[in-house]
Structures are given as structure tokens and as C-alpha cells.
């Protein structure tokens, strides 16, 4: 905290700097290391004899003739059908984000403008729903979905992810809508707008920051989900995360572990770039619930 009166001793400053450097190393090094290792062959990244091989690229040099290789990537994306998984991820993510936002903005706007008691209870119910472990919900879905024969296809998963995502989206957008002054839509109502017109033409235009934040969180949920996608999709329709897990399961194939490594990097890179771009929104979203209480 930078206050005029607050003088920090040199020792404290050094200690602070060292602490931050150590923490950043702990936080970031695993990703840097995985990124580095994904361009090596398995015998180097998972070396039985000497871990230094991962840096000197001893086996990579022997097997491919260069210090870096993109074999793991090309194989995972073609032979490993990671392209299909990423296509599925894109479909799921796009639909989940747009449907979640559509339902969420309508519901959260209504909650923020209602003075009735039930609005409070709905928010409490949403909090309880938010706490449900996803796997318990999945154990409720599987049997009915098998019976209705809608198991394994993308639309089912999209609808399920939207629903699972609603409680959080509602809370987030609710706290954003609360910051938009009531007078704004009240004056529109007096001028003869219907509630929907006020929502559409007056409130939504000033809500973009909130909508972007909520969209980012829906995106991260859909993109990162493992529990729902692994259990509700068939092999053919698997998204990226269950696909990565399936590479681990077939360990007998020499190349597969490196497929998993390159797939992890391929799946993480877009996410990191997105967060780098929208860092401010992510942080405002995480704190929105907290600061409002």
C-alpha cells in the first residue's frame, strides 16, 4: 500500500520482491516447462535416465535430427483426431455462451428489478444449485438420457452446461444490473416503453462490460468442463478435455503420452491468450460477487 506516511524498510522490500518472484515461478513454471517439453520426444521429456535430456534434447536430436520437433502436435491433431475434439469444443463453447447470456440477462434483470420476497429466495436457491457437485447432477442425468436416447450428442451437453452455468451467471449479472440505476429504466417506462423495450434499448447498451464478464465465465466453464462432457458425450463427440484424458488411458502406445502433452498445450494456449486480453473483465467478475456481499 503506497501511503505517503508508510515507509518500508529496504529489508522488507527485498523480502517482498523475493516472495513475488518465488510465487510467480511456482505459478508459471509448470506451464512454461510443459510448453518447452511438448517440442521434445517422449524419451527426453519423460526421461528414464537423466532429466537434463529434456533441456539438451539428447533423444530428440537422435530421433528427429533437430533440437525441436512438432511431431507430437501433428500426430495428435491428425492421427489422434484432436481436430475433431477442438471442433466440438468450439461448437459447445459458442452455443453455451450465447444461450447462457440470453437466458441469464433476462433472468438477472428481472431479479434485480423485483422488490418481491421470492426474488431473494430464487437467489438463495441459485446459490444452493451452484454448490451441487456436477458429478451428482450427472448421475441424475445418465439414466433418463439413456431412456430418452438423447445421450452422447452435442445438443444435450450444451443444454446441460447452460443449465449448470445459470446459477453463477445469474448471481454475476444480478450484481452488475444492481449497479445500473433504477431511474434509467423507470423513465423509459414512463415514456411508454414496455419492460422488454426498456431492457432491450436502455439497459443492455450500458451493460456490455457485465455481459462480457459473464460471457467469459460461461466460456471458461464450457471450455474447461470435464465431468459433464466426459460422461455425457460418446467417443465421437468428445471435446478437448475428455480427449486429453483418453490419450492418457492408452499408455501402451509409445506416442500417446506426448499427444497428451501437446494437446494440453494446444488447449491451454487460446485460453491464456483470451485471459490476457480480457484480464480486467475476469477480475471484475470474480470480485463482483464478493464486494457486493
Amino acid at each position: 500500500m503506497d501511503y505517503g506516511l508508510d515507509t518500508k524498510s529496504a529489508r522488507l522490500k527485498t523480502f517482498n520482491t523475493i516472495f513475488i518472484i518465488v510465487w510467480l515461478l511456482i505459478a508459471c513454471f509448470p506451464f512454461i516447462w510443459t510448453f518447452w517439453g511438448s517440442f521434445k520426444v517422449r524419451a527426453d521429456f519423460f526421461s528414464r535416465s537423466d532429466w537434463w535430456y529434456a533441456i539438451s534434447a539428447f533423444n530428440t536430436l537422435i530421433e528427429t535430427g533437430g533440437k525441436f520437433t512438432v511431431n507430437a502436435y501433428t500426430e495428435a491433431w491428425t492421427e489422434g483426431e484432436f481436430w475433431k475434439a477442438s471442433k466440438n469444443t468450439i461448437i459447445v463453447t459458442v452455443f453455451v455462451v450465447s444461450i447462457s447470456l440470453f437466458l441469464g440477462t433476462l433472468g438477472a434483470y428481472a431479479l434485480s428489478r423485483s422488490t418481491e420476497k421470492y426474488a431473494f429466495w430464487i437467489l438463495m436457491a441459485a446459490l444452493i444449485f451452484r454448490a451441487m457437485p456436477h458429478i451428482t447432477l450427472v448421475s441424475g442425468y445418465l439414466f433418463p438420457f439413456f431412456e430418452l436416447q438423447i445421450w452422447g450428442i452435442l445438443p444435450t451437453t450444451i443444454v446441460v452446461l447452460v443449465a449448470i452455468n445459470q446459477p453463477f451467471t445469474l448471481w454475476l449479472l444480478y450484481s452488475f444490473f444492481k449497479t445500473v440505476p433504477k431511474e434509467l429504466d423507470e423513465s423509459a417506462l414512463i415514456d411508454g416503453c414496455s419492460y422488454f423495450q426498456a431492457f432491450r434499448h436502455i439497459i443492455m447498451p450500458v451493460m456490455w462490460p457485465g455481459v462480457i464478464t459473464a460471457g467469459l465465465f460461461s466460456l471458461m466453464l464450457a471450455y474447461n468442463d470435464f465431468t459433464v462432457t466426459a460422461l455425457l458425450l460418446n467417443q465421437e463427440n468428445h471435446t478437448m478435455v475428455p480427449k486429453i484424458q483418453s490419450y492418457l488411458g492408452t499408455n501402451q502406445h509409445e506416442g500417446n503420452l506426448m499427444w497428451a502433452v501437446s494437446a494440453v498445450v494446444s488447449a491451454t494456449a487460446p485460453l491464456f491468450m483470451l485471459v490476457m486480453f480480457f484480464q480486467r473483465q475476469v477480475i471484475s467478475g470474480l470480485t463482483a460477487g464478493a464486494v457486493k456481499g
Binding site: 501511503y3 506451464f31 526421461s47 532429466w51 451452484r130 451428482t136 441424475g140
Partner: protein, 342 residues
């Protein structure tokens, strides 16, 4: 807003939540009272020149017929709840009567699958949650003290562990601490023990998963605390400095009381998230020595022969009860506040 307008605005999201969160919970509840059918067996008499043998084989046709007629399984009441894989009532009674010391009894009970998973889940929550709060707070204080210009990239680096999915996060760590990875191999060298590995020891596995949990969740606590620190008023702190309060005293008596509501919020959220721990167990391939409640459900659902719907549902119901117990204090408090506010 008039009730009618509210209804139409809220209908789509309300319907989604009722259909896909409310109903599944009921569906889980119903399923937990049923168990999968036993296989129908028939006696087959085989005669050859040396005599006749009677063997018992599974009658696939009959089994399928029964399964198709009653896909939910046979009614089992609370049978699934009390069987060996869940609350294990009979086994516990038996252990109580047979074992000589209390220690031996506890030992026996904690070897039952459900209790084993429950203990791991609770241990994980108990160790991860407070450490997440502590580490998150320290990082927030520390980052708050550096120059504003370089904070952006530092915050980005800090939140990386949080934005990757737990499966990927645990894999990335696992590949490093595996006996063939950079950290694992070096520890082996340091300890001079070529057989030292994560999988060899239950305690080591638990510690690793807990450390992973702290690594993954601290950034969330950090972000919230960091935002809260920006709202701490300056005047009382300046007054405290003039009065000669030490840095520690200032944090304890001014900063902490100010951000106290946020602390409870973070504690609640991370408790809820930690209670569902499951993906790191798969990422670290630690099924052998660490099982959580969520993992038990997953294991039932991916069972190769027959999906154990009943068993998974019973564990789910008990997990939901666990969540309810965790949430109860918060809900009661909110309700009281709500009542006094009116």
C-alpha cells in the same frame, strides 16, 4: 416489476434450472432406491459319451428381457445406502463387536470405501481451504506493495493456475513430479532412492494433491482479496501509523476487519469447490491411494459391465447432504439477516 412481467423474464432461465438441476436431483433420489437387476442364471445340462454335467450359465436373453421391462432396476429401499460400499452398517456393527481396541476399530472402518473417500474429501477441504485463504491474502498484500505499472503482468502470471481446468493443471504438475519428470527425478537423486515415487506412498500422494489444491485455488482468493484491499480506507491507516502501530498491527486491526465479509465469501466458495474434488485424482492417477466422494460416483458411472446407477445415486445423495450441512450455517445466517432487514 409486476409479477407477470417477472414471470416471463425469468421463465427461460427458471425452466432450465428446474429441468436440469432440480429434476436431476429428484431423479438421483429415486434412482438411489433401486439397484441393478441380478443376472438370470439357468442350469444347462450337457451330455456327452462320458456322462452328463450340469453347469450354471447366465441366461442373457432372460436378463435383457427383465432389464428392458424394468430399466430402473429392482426396488432396493435403503438397501444401497446401508450396503458395504456405502454406510456399511452391518460391517461397522461387526467391527465394533470383534475388534479389541478403538484404534483397530477406526482402522477397519476407514478401510471401507465410503468412509475412506469421506475422510480424504474432508482432509482435503480441511487442509486446502485455510491455506488458500492464507496464501491468497499474503500474495494480495505483497502484490499490492509493488509499483502499479508492473502489476498487470504479475496478476496475469498469478491467476494462470486458476484458469486452466483442474485436469490439465494436475497433469502439468504430475508430469513434473513423476519419477521421470524434472522434479521427481531430482528428488530421487537428492534422496538417493531410485524407488521413491509419488505412487509408492499414500501420504505422499495425499500431500501432492493437497499442494495441487492450494496451487490451483489460491489465485481465486488472491483476486478477491486484492480487489477488497483497494477499498480499504486510507485515513484510519494513516492515523494508526502516526500512533506508531506496526505493520502487523495495522493489518490485524484495520485491514482484516474491513475485508472480513469477503473472507467468509472466499472461504465458502472454496469450501464448496474443494468438497467436489475429483479431477486431480484422475490427473495424478492417484485412484489407488486417494479417492474422494465425487470420484466414487464417477467410478460407478464408468463401470464397464453395468453402470451402477443405484450405487452412484446413493453416494450422490449423501454428497448432497454433506453440501447441505456445509451450507447450513450460511443459509441460516442469511435468513436471519433477511428477517431483521424487513
Amino acid at each position: 416489476m409486476p409479477n407477470k412481467t417477472f414471470f416471463w423474464f425469468f421463465l427461460p432461465t427458471g425452466l432450465a434450472m428446474i429441468l436440469f438441476i432440480g429434476l436431476p436431483i429428484i431423479s438421483t433420489g429415486i434412482q438411489s432406491f433401486y439397484a441393478q437387476h441380478d443376472q438370470v442364471v439357468k442350469e444347462v445340462k450337457k451330455c456327452d459319451p462320458f456322462g452328463c454335467t450340469v453347469s450354471i450359465v447366465v441366461d442373457n436373453e432372460e436378463t435383457t428381457k427383465i432389464r428392458d421391462a424394468k430399466p430402473l432396476g429392482k426396488f432396493n429401499g435403503f438397501g444401497t445406502y446401508t450396503d458395504r460400499n456405502h454406510l456399511a452398517v452391518d460391517e461397522i456393527k461387526k467391527f465394533w463387536n470383534e475388534t479389541k481396541s478403538f484404534g483397530a476399530f477406526v482402522d477397519q472402518v476407514t478401510n471401507l470405501p465410503f468412509y475412506k473417500a469421506l475422510i480424504f474429501t474432508l482432509t482435503y477441504c480441511l487442509f486446502v481451504t485455510p491455506n488458500v485463504l492464507l496464501l491468497g491474502f499474503i500474495i494480495a498484500l505483497s502484490l499490492n506493495a509493488v509499483a502499479r505499472k508492473i502489476r498487470g503482468p504479475l496478476i496475469f502470471g498469478t491467476i494462470l493456475p486458476m484458469i486452466v481446468t483442474p485436469l490439465v493443471g494436475s497433469l502439468v504438475l504430475f508430469w513434473m513430479i513423476d519419477s521421470q519428470g524434472i522434479i521427481g527425478a531430482n528428488i530421487q537423486n537428492l534422496m538417493n532412492d531410485p524407488y521413491l515415487s509419488l505412487k509408492s506412498s499414500k501420504t505422499l500422494t495425499w500431500i501432492t494433491i493437497i499442494i495441487y489444491g492450494i496451487w490451483h485455488h489460491s489465485p481465486f482468493a488472491f483476486v478477491v482479496f486484492y480487489a477488497a484491499l483497494q477499498t480499504v480506507p486510507q485515513e484510519p491507516i494513516e492515523a494508526a501509523i502516526i500512533d506508531g502501530a506496526s505493520r502487523f498491527q495495522r493489518i490485524k486491526h484495520i485491514v482484516l476487519p474491513h475485508i472480513y465479509p469477503v473472507v467468509t465469501f472466499v472461504a465458502l466458495i472454496s469450501l464448496m469447490d474443494n468438497f467436489r474434488v475429483f479431477e486431480p485424482i484422475i490427473g495424478f492417477s492417484a485412484e489407488g491411494s486417494a479417492q474422494s466422494l465425487s470420484w466414487l460416483i464417477y467410478d460407478n458411472l464408468v463401470n464397464e459391465e453395468v453402470i451402477l446407477f443405484g450405487s452412484a445415486a446413493a453416494t450422490s445423495m449423501m454428497t448432497i447432504i454433506g453440501i447441505a450441512i456445509l451450507l447450513a450455517p450460511v443459509l441460516i445466517r442469511t435468513w436471519k439477516e433477511f428477517k431483521t432487514a424487513r
